[in-house]
């Protein structure tokens, strides 16, 4: 009885051991959701376009240079904010569309450090949520005096409260999907 049982056990064990030894290589995962790049596109009164992109440190290549936004004092700019997933260089995804689709759950805030910029929200219908709040993907900037400083752009997911009393935007609750700092130089 015992020997039979033992043999059965060993056989079972050996079968399982061998049947499980497949050597399939794991599939690569190119993250679908991750935002790797944040782009600000500026169009001035003369209809000239400037583009600045911040790339996540994990996805930078050798040629990457920290973006420095160069603006002129006393000027007005149409500014568009975009988010991209470039984790798979063969398949660049524009995440901005998803943000627009889920505009009720998203909110963008801007904060300037050491430089003064007048900002107004200028979202089209696809950027205005059910409560009538422009979520901040399109803005108009009016620069004032010259100076150097920073801009912090945040994309917030599922805030409990969005407040645009100050057009820079403030919120409570939610979690941060994007928080990047750009250098700004307002000069002549």
């Amino acid at each position: 009885m015992k020997t039979i049982q033992f043999t059965l056990f060993s056989l079972l064990f050996l079968t399982l051991f061998t049947s499980c030894s497949d050597d399939d290589a794991p599939e690569i995962i190119n993250e679908e959701e991750v935002i790797t790049d944040v782009t600000l596109t500026f169009v001035n009164e003369a209809n000239e376009t400037q583009t600045y992109t911040y790339t996540d440190p994990s996805y930078r290549d050798e040629n990457y240079q920290e973006p420095v936004i160069m603006l002129k004092p006393g000027s007005t700019y149409q500014v568009e904010l975009q988010f991209f997933n470039k984790s798979n260089p063969q398949d660049i995804e524009d995440i901005t569309n998803e943000v627009r689709e889920e505009r009720n759950d998203h909110f963008v805030t801007y904060a300037f450090g050491q430089v003064a910029v007048d900002l107004t929200r200028n979202d089209s219908a696809s950027g205005i949520d059910a409560a009538g709040i422009p979520i901040g993907l399109n803005t108009i900037w009016k620069t004032q005096t010259a100076g150097n400083g920073t801009l912090v752009v945040k994309l917030i997911h599922e805030p409990t409260l969005k407040d645009v009393t100050n057009p820079m935007g403030s919120f409570t609750g939610g979690e941060t999907d994007v928080e990047v700092a750009f250098q700004i130089q307002i000069g002549l």
Binding site: F17, I29, P57, S58, E101, G113, A116, K154, T160, T172
Partner: protein, 800 residues
Amino acid sequence: MKLFVQLLLFSVSYFAYSQSCSFILEGKVIDFHDGQALANAKVELLNTNQIIYTNAKGEFKFKEVCEGAQNLRVNHPDCQELIYPILIERNTKTTIYLEHHLEELEVVSLVGKINRDQTKSNPSVVVDRAVLDKHRGGSLGDALQEIAGVSSLTTGNSIVKPVIQGLHSSRVLLMQNNVRLENQDWGVEHAPSIAMQAAQEVEVVKGASALALGGDALGGAIITSPAKIPVKDTLYGYTGLVAASNGRGGGLHTQLTRSFEKGWYAQADASFKRFGDAKAPDNFLANTGHLEKALTLRGGLNKFVQGFEVYYSYYQSENGILRDAHIGNVSDLIRAINREKPIRSRDFSYKINEPKQSVTHHLAKLSYYRRLENIGKIKMHYAYQENNRLEYDIRRGDDAGKASLDLNLKTHEFQTNLQIDYDTNYDLNAGMVLTYQDNFANPLTGVKRLIPDYKQYKVGGYITGNYKWDEYWTTEAGLRFDYTHLDAQKFYLKTSWDKKGYQQDFSNIIIEDFGTQYLTNPKFDFQNFSWIGGLKYEQNDFEATLNYTRGQRAPNVAELFSDGLHHSAAIIELGDLRFKPETSHKISLNLAQDLNAFSFVANPYLNRFTDFITLVPKGLETTVRGAFPVWEYEQVDALLWGIDAQANYRIAKNFESQVSFAYLVGRDLDADNYLNEMPAPNFLYQLTYKRENWKDLRMSVQAKHSLRQHNYPNNNFYYEVLNEGNYEEVLVDISTPPEAYILLGFESSARFTPFKTGSLEVNFQVQNILNTQYNDYLNRLRYYAYQPGRNFILNLTYNY
């Protein structure tokens, strides 16, 4: 009370006597389970006036026994009365085996009983049935917390991880019906896949001294096993119902057992539990509901000489994670720490939304044992386990509702153990374990794998033994060797690969270049040696044990491979491929005195580690999502020392008081600093009124007093926040432990017999009577919300 006899005629001596009433009947009364002789058993030869008590060796002898069919009646305090028929034709020698009371563990006592099954020199603590019953609506971790020296590391209120003398996760081994539970135990927010409602016998060993279970349980082992099934023709079962006000939930549990006199048995056990949002004193904790389903089926043959069992258990749980705890980065953490709690108040709901986790565990086991005459017992089993862990985050777009983590862990285990115990003075145990494990991380999540695909092979062998020198002294020694081979396939982002400096050391393991990522094939071989030596002295009501254990644990997959963001903690965790096994040297002394009205247990210990793997803060890292603190796993020298103590005093006939205490200090010797997340000193006071002769009535008041942890590492940091156009340095206080707290509780239970058969146990309790607002240092979500408030719990169990 059930009992059972197995008869073995070892030798029969034959002498012809002319007189029919002068035969000699001698024998021995033995505990069926451990083969120990039962002293002081009352043996009565029926229809005569002959009564004899067995001696210290369990022996008895009747000198004038008549020829023909005779009956012996055997009584022992631990066992139920047994009528033992025997045919006398000559001088006869017999061995009588007595079965323990089935309700052995149901005996209501407040102290966890000390047991010596696992090791002689490092006693384990058996959790009382009353304590288990009390926590049927909670989790295993909640029940274990009542043992001095065991605390809980929690993620919210339903994910509760046991901590033994400061150690947890991969350092605490969980055994379910003799099988090592393989359930992704490396994660701090991974609770054991064990249904509390169905837990029947639970035992805790502090330290790695139970070598037969594993040499790597540097914290200790938690052993859960199903109740013993009596060998008699019977059908019995019970159904339990638990309802709790906090979380407005409850559970149902039922068990049915059928057994036969020939040893065959079958048992089915099913439980279900559902809770909605828990409530802190002032508000509901949004998304903290949980759901649990469990099923166990087992059947087999249980004979004295041999037996087998087929066992299957299924466990499924779903746990909501506090919605407020889902944060993005350091800025969110600052807002969370500084804001009024909670931010997201909502009405009560049973719905479990993201973030949540869902765990399914299957365990199938086939086991066989045989007693070998004049040697001992051989046991073997094969077990297959499958653990599927799904974690859901709050996601965007098409990915919403899709799991962010989907791990499938399959484990095959074969174990065999030979116990040599024919001589009452020594006991030898030798065995081996073979394990094969396959982890698959589903790529369909679309999220970088936290844990890679891997295959792991383990071979372990051990030998332990103890020798009883005389009636006072016993010595113990043991040795275990484990070999682990780990073969993983892991993707690394090139940036993090370079940052860890792997290009120099591991460039040979790269198998493919995918542009931004490398596919690598890390392989490891770990050899672990563990050994123990121990001494026990016992005299009447006093016992002292001294134990030295050297244990060794191979680094787990999280410690080796972590390289990314840990969402719930908002930290970046980095593992290291260069790790070697960590080693613990633990000395533990256990003193126990049990006088009539007073008893105490004290257990001071010292645990010295080399290459202790711990997370160390390494500054901030900026990503597109903002800044995150970086924590790297490092190997350091560490020292943990402390004392667990408990005392009981019977104040009056029906009044008992109890106090237990645990104190622990953990030091990182390399950094000359305290270790993170060590349990705060705590007291548990209890006053109980018992009236066994009136419905088994029991009432008790309890106070849990947790002091403030003063011995903690200060990992606070400053972060620059842009405020009104200017940057400000803001202190991020992640380290300061919460204030001390005292929780009052009340518990009462009684047993009624309202129906013709069976009995009804009623248990009513109130937790956190004063609705105290508090936070616990070992709650990972303490920054976001307070602990649950007052809770009324009613527990009904009908035994039939």
